[in-house]
Structure formats: C-alpha cells, structure tokens
Symmetry: C2
Subunit: 326 residues, 2 copies
Amino acid sequence: MSAVWNGAGRRISICDVGLRDGLQMEARFVPTEDKIALVHALSAAGLRKIEVTSFTSPNAIPALRDAEVVMRNIERHPGVTYTALVPNARGAERAIESRVDELNLVMSVSGTHNLANLRMTSMQSFAALSQVVAMAQGAGVPVNVSLSCVFGCPMEGDVALSTVCDWVRRFADLGVRRITLCDTTGMAYPTQVAQVSAAALARWPDAAFTLHFHNTRGMGLANVLAAIDAGASRFDASLGGLGGCPYAPGASGNVSTEDLVHALELMGYDTGIDLPALLAAAHRLPEVIGHDLPSQLAKAGPRLALHPAPADLDALRERALARSAV
Amino acid sequence: MSAVWNGAGRRISICDVGLRDGLQMEARFVPTEDKIALVHALSAAGLRKIEVTSFTSPNAIPALRDAEVVMRNIERHPGVTYTALVPNARGAERAIESRVDELNLVMSVSGTHNLANLRMTSMQSFAALSQVVAMAQGAGVPVNVSLSCVFGCPMEGDVALSTVCDWVRRFADLGVRRITLCDTTGMAYPTQVAQVSAAALARWPDAAFTLHFHNTRGMGLANVLAAIDAGASRFDASLGGLGGCPYAPGASGNVSTEDLVHALELMGYDTGIDLPALLAAAHRLPEVIGHDLPSQLAKAGPRLALHPAPADLDALRERALARSAV
C-alpha cells in the first residue's frame, strides 16, 4: 500500500485563495472590513500563505476594487506570506506600492482560454508577464506564476504535458521559482495529477510547485492525495470552498480549506492549521457572502464532534432485554 | 508512487443503494412506477447489483411500503443481482416470497447505535439475524451482512478494529461470505479505511467485502481509493448521491454513483457502467425526488464535455495582435 495514506507528520502547506479566486466571482460586494477580518481570521488560524486580493482594473472585477485598502489595512502576522494576483505591469506597480509579499502572475497554457479570458495570445501574455517578472525582481519582491488550465481547458480539452512543461520552462528561465499548476475548471483526475506532478517535480527540483484544484467533479481531495504521492506538498484551497466555475453553475468551487485540513490532519499530515479556528471563520462566511457554501465540514462538523445518545437509552436497553426474556 | 492511481483495467463492482439507503430518508413518497423505472435505468446502465428496497414494516419506513410491488414488477436483467434490505425474519419471508436475489441484513457494531436505531442490543440483533441467515440458507438465497458504524459511531466515537473483526467473525462462522463494511454517517478517513480494509481482506480472503461510504465530510472518493489500494474491489454508491445522514443536515449523502464511475473510469478502472446512460438517469432524479441532489457530475458534466469557444475568438485574436503591433 502507498505511504500516502499515512501522513506520518509530513508538512503540507496550504494557501487560502478564497479572497481572490472566490470573491472575484461574487455578484455582491463584500465590505472591505469583512475582507480584512477574513484575512485576519485566516492568519490567526495558522494559514502561512493567503492570497488577499487581485490588483486588476476596478472595472474588470468590481468585487475587488478595494485591493489597496485591503492590502494596506490587514494585520501582518509574522511568517505569513500575503500574496496578491497581478494581471499586468500596472497591477504590479499597485501591488508593490501596497507592499504585497509576493506577486502572483497568471496566464493560461490553453491559447483559447487565454484569449477568451485575458484578451491576449499566450505569447503576448508571456511577453507582458516577463516585464512584470523583471519589475518584481528589480523591486526584490518574489514572483509566483499561476498557469491556468494545466489539467485541461473547458474549450480545447486536454493540454499536452509537453505544452505545460514548455510554459513552466519559459518562466523558470526567467528565474521564477514558484509555479502554481492550476486546475482552473475542475478537469483534473488523479492519474493525470500524479503524472503531471511527478514530471514537473522531477524536471525542476529547485522550484516550489503549488497545486490548485477545484472540486467541480468531486475529485479535489483525491487529486491532492495523488499529488502528495507524487511528491507535492503545497496546495491552494479556499475557506468554505468559495469559488466556482462559470462553466459549471451550481458545481463546487475550490477545494475547501477546512475539508482539506480536516482530512489531511486525520491522515497524520501536519498542516499547521487550527481546525476549530478555521471552522469558526467558515461558519461566519455564508453571512458575509450572502449564500450557502459547498464546504462539507462546515455542515457536518469534524468526524469526532459526537452527538448525544438518546436520553432514554437505558430504558431502551431494559425494554429490549425484557422482550428477549419473555 | 502507488499503483492505485492507474487502474490498468482492473474491475471495480458498484452496487447502487439509492433506492434503499436514499429513498428511506425521503419525506415524499416516490411513486412505485418511478422506483421501477429507476431500477430499470440502473440495470440498463450496466449496474450489476442494485439494492431495490427494504422489507421493513410499512409503519417504520412508509417511503418503502411498496417493497413487494416494486420487487415483483422490476424487469430482471440477466447477470444483475437485485438485493433488498431485510431487518428481521418477517422481512426475510416477504423478501424471499418476492424472489430477491440476495438478503441484505443489517446491524451495528456500535451498541449505542444499534439500540438507538434497531431497539435491540447488538447481541439480540445478532441472535435474530442468525435465524434469518439460517432461513435464507434453507431457501437457498445468498445473504449479505451490512455492518453499520464500522468507521465510527456518531454517538460513541471510534469503534475498535477488534470489535469490527469480532462481528465479521461471528457472521463468517455462520457461513456468511458477503460482508459490507459501512461508513454509516461519513466518519471514515483514508488512513483508517486502508487499515480496516487490509485487515479484513487478509483475515477472510474468501469473503466478498463491500465498502459503503458516505461523502458527509468530502472524503468519499479518497476513501474508495484507499480501500482499492488495500485490495478492495466492491463498493456501494447511490445515483445522484441520494441518501444523507440525520446527524448532518445539509451534508452529502452516499458517494454518488456517477461521480464515482466518472472518476474510476478516467483512472483506468473498469466499472462496466455506461456513464452517459447513468447521467441521463441522474438528470431525471431531482424531479422524481423533488429536490436537488449532491451529485457533482450531474451539475458539471464529464470533464471532456467541452464548451464552445467565444464566437468572436478570431476577432479577439486579431484585435490582440493588432494592439501588439502598435
């Protein structure tokens, strides 16, 4: 049997991306103070990396139009990396001014998806992001590159592993050492995840790869475990399972942070995260967001949160035994 | 890496239990003809085992008060085992008269759960079921025993593996060769599943063990994979993820048959099930039941059910390239 079923204290690092990947899809504007409170709750629960916001045009994503205010007013916990998504040089300037700890750049390994979402060809995106990488390096701010549609494009279908590796290589050649392989619309499955993760980790042993899964088709946790078995140890997730996919209305969003922490800790992995504190934050989330969330754990509670036995259990037993005696 | 990530054509057998484990919880009575149509749809989709109903007292579970009518009117597909739950000797008589292919008996390995649910001590249940086993053996009808709370009791907490093995042994000693290990309220986690499955399979190599998981805490698929890695190959699931748990309102029910088939077939396992036919049945289910279901796949579709690219993709590309040329 695989060693993956027994964590044996191995460290798994989780980055909560709900404030960015989740909130960017929400119709209702979440008040700035609620966002700040959420970042604080996540920091206090032990998250060591939080994607706080996105420095996009306020017209493109009005839900995150308060990026600067949020970034400047969060309480910075020591040891926590506060990262933000940055689509272009203008966003990078704003993010660097707001003292983000890391710039998270994004482009898609699917040409169709890149064009449809970012209005640029993949090569144009790469050229633009190369400038941002240089800016960040000049400013001494670390860069993470998130590659979308690594496990499939909802319009093109499967993307060849060689294409994925080509894009990783281009960024690695620029000196980027942090790469997130994103399952943008929940198309990843464990066999593929194991293969892609193993290939990337073997080819770039010095890079820090993060895996980003959505639970769109119910395979989120299985994909995380396949990636761990292939050597990965960094994952994105979102409180409450915030997020979602425009191609699958009603389906789950990102892998839920609390579901993932609960499962991994039971399995003997060390996430460094305080589950009760995380759950308390998850329980407040539906009111903040204005709707129910896909998190299973927020509904069911941890597996050993026991329920009282029937008050008349002794009487039940006596009656049962009396029937037998007849 | 584990071989579990690559099915390599290995056969996995799935029994759909939605008509029993799912419908028994529904407030609304599902018309008899709809139940019969569902059994037919599952047979036609390639399920090789279907739990059709429960021969319980009509007062205890009015939702299944039509057990005889359903059982007598389903179309029997060759090679399909039509099983039914049977709580006691009276139920066994009714089930045998209705020509079930298998009697599925049930008791809990948790004394508290058994008393609260079945109003008997575990020893009383065992004594009663022993008589039913003898009846079935006399009638030449195979018996399956489903043990509840194998992976934890919502009132008692964890149940010792030795206790679980004790109950398996008692039934094995009666000649029962089909045993289902049930995660009745979704408390199982992969480490435990791997351990319990491996122990049971090693100790009773001639028995046919089925694993029955609920997705209450989002670990259903991961638990199935852990069990497969430990050597198991038979699983319960329910169309649409029907079912649920009285201790976790709003949480998921049984592992969804279509989510499981989709994942396992992608991984190279052979379930023998026709996913499009199964999905068609799943899509009709919410209307039959009267509410939404937890199945992810019914909402999101298979991973390669692609979406059209934007109609103006060529124009987008031209405009993008024109901007670069400026």
